[in-house]
Symmetry: C2
DNA sequence: GTTAGCACTCTTTAGTTGTGAGTGCTAACT
DNA sequence: AGTTAGCACTCACAACTAAAGAGTGCTAAC
């Protein structure tokens, strides 16, 4: 649906004013905000048509107009200036993310935290998906008479470790056996393939050694699962309360939804675009019907991607937040690429 | 201040009724709740005196009475029956905490999460303090041509690891040198002593090897710091919103306060009692002036203790939550002792 | 197509009134 | 002296009314 230039101008002004003030905007207000030489009556007529087209709505008869979800959508797709990010903001983001010598998880946790503070929204991020990753290496580090730490390194550069406990005292022949098992059954194997079925056949084939090896083998399996699972990092839940006005009593449901992680993970994974905006009901989850999500994706390599996003009310400041999310996401992508590929 | 038996009965009834309903309680209501053969007028007189003594207050002239902080305090200290925990609740807690093969952090995170769900309050826990802990062992696991994982094991059984990156390719002589440094300068050293000053003298004494060793040495130092730092695990922030009524707009401040971690850590550490209840303003932080904190401490050994607590409105159900917090904390203490002492 | 003008709608705020819960006090009772 | 019935009093709360104000939609003229 193509709108006249004047309608577009009016729609944009309504959206921007409403985003700024949270108040329905009337024809007179627009007259001031808009440098257009028509009267308020004309604007009223145009607004009435915009309402008929479904881009604006009235909370009640004698109030100004507010954008509908379709109104926001039109604005985001066609009207919003693709603002270039201020140099100062860029530097602020870079400063915020200048942490080093840390794990991918810590980088992403920091990203959520920082993005939440910066945008005053709730922020989420997911760890790299690591699809098709295989086990590159496994090490066993004895730390006690019966305990050792197993370190797993994936082909995507992720390192996971876990302490495990043997039922009997460790000795060098056991460790040797463990490394044999690792070499024959784990190295080069895709992480997804390490399921309980595989482990059972493996254990079965070990004969009388099985019992002592079980803790080690299952530790490897848990590590493999951890390395596969994309984790969701959540930051700034409390920012939801900044928008009490628009959320009312549903604030609790939203916070609870965010906490769950799993649906967020789906939400982010379902988006194929490089950068995606979902407005209100466009989100598949009803808990988000009054929220907008701005999300971007980072790519470490073709098999290894993740997402970062913010969640706020539908009257979020799209024009200035979208570039921030994009820039931060790109930056995190670079940081992760560095971290994971250097060795 | 010693109250007459009848006054105590009335105070207890007011507290319990108010905790249950959230409504100010009047003399007639008490008449029903109390199996006492006096008239409402007598109760009114008694309540007036309790108010004069500072144990009760009136939101406004023509409303019933609600307990003051002092009222709650008297109730908690002297009136509340030290209820024995139901067997079913015990089993519920045990079931909730039956996770195995995980790190102390994961146990405590789970404890916060579970306790929050169970009590419908926000819950916090701190990792063991590890005072006076020393470095027991350090291992280096090569994982790439230039990267390796350093594993640090403390005398208290805590294991921390970190990936670090060398500026040059690793070779066996470097690793040997690293182990020499470890043996001479780290093993047996208290974690607290590993500060930047010590490291500088250490690096200075290494002469020309210093440059290549710096990443390793500083990684050890970071690990030592991580192992010292008590972390705060937070669960169920969203439960704050269950008490919108009592928190109103301060809900945001409270959530923000919880998120900070550091003050929580102080709060928990400042309590010397085995189990401690802080009511409203008894807390040193003004963000908690409308909240009560129930906290308990676990002891792994004399140098190694931590805390678990819940935070809710002052009209929290002390009688039934205190035993739950205590039981869970004891259980976590046992779990951690097992985890940390077995090797 | 645009605009001035005006009646109309509907929210918001303030003011009014009535109701009910609950108190505090007094005087009588045990 | 402690207890109780009785009653006047207070005050939040809800329901209602009135006035104000913002903003619209429509009509008729430009």
């Amino acid at each position: 649906m193509e709108l006249s230039q004047r309608k577009e101008k009016i729609l944009a002004a309504v959206v921007e004013h409403y985003i700024r003030t949270g108040e329905p905007v009337g024809s007179k207000t627009l007259l001031n905000a808009l440098d257009i030489s028509v009267s308020s009556a004309t604007i009223r007529n145009e607004m009435a048509e915009l309402a008929a087209l479904g881009y604006l709505e009235q909370p009640h008869t004698s109030a100004g107009r507010i954008p509908t979800n379709e109104g926001y959508r039109y604005y985001v797709d066609r009207l919003m200036g693709v603002r270039q990010l201020d140099e100062s903001v860029k530097r602020q983001i870079e400063a915020g993310m200048s942490i080093k010598n840390v794990s991918p998880e810590a980088i992403l946790a920091k990203a959520s935290e920082f993005l939440a503070d910066m945008t005053e929204c709730a922020a989420v991020s997911t760890t790299p998906s690591g699809e098709n990753a295989t086990i590159r290496r496994i090490e066993f580090v004895p730390v006690g008479t019966r305990t050792g730490m197993i370190v797993l390194l994936t082909s995507t550069g992720v390192i996971k470790s876990k302490v495990c406990r043997s039922d009997v005292d460790l000795n060098s022949s056991m460790i040797e056996k463990f490394y044999n098992i690792v070499k024959s059954s784990f190295i080069g194997v895709p992480l997804d393939d390490i399921d309980t079925a595989t482990l059972q056949t493996l254990v079965a084939s070990m004969g009388m050694d099985a019992l002592t090896m079980i803790p080690f083998v299952s530790a490897v399996s848990e590590l493999a699962q951890e390395a596969t699972r994309t984790m969701v990092m959540l930051g700034g839940q409390s920012n939801i309360l900044r928008y009490r006005e628009e959320y009312g009593t549903t604030a609790y449901e939203l916070m609870d939804f965010l906490r769950r992680g799993e649906p967020i993970s789906q939400l982010l994974a379902n988006s194929k675009e490089d950068l995606d905006v979902k407005i209100g009901g466009e989100n598949q989850f009803k808990q988000l019907e009054n929220s907008s999500v701005i999300m971007a994706h980072y790519n470490i390599d073709s098999d290894n991607r993740g997402s970062i996003g913010i969640i706020g009310p539908t009257r979020i400041d799209y024009a200035s937040l979208i570039p921030s999310v994009r820039y931060l996401t790109d930056l995190v992508g670079e940081l992760l690429t560095q971290t994971l590929n250097e060795d």
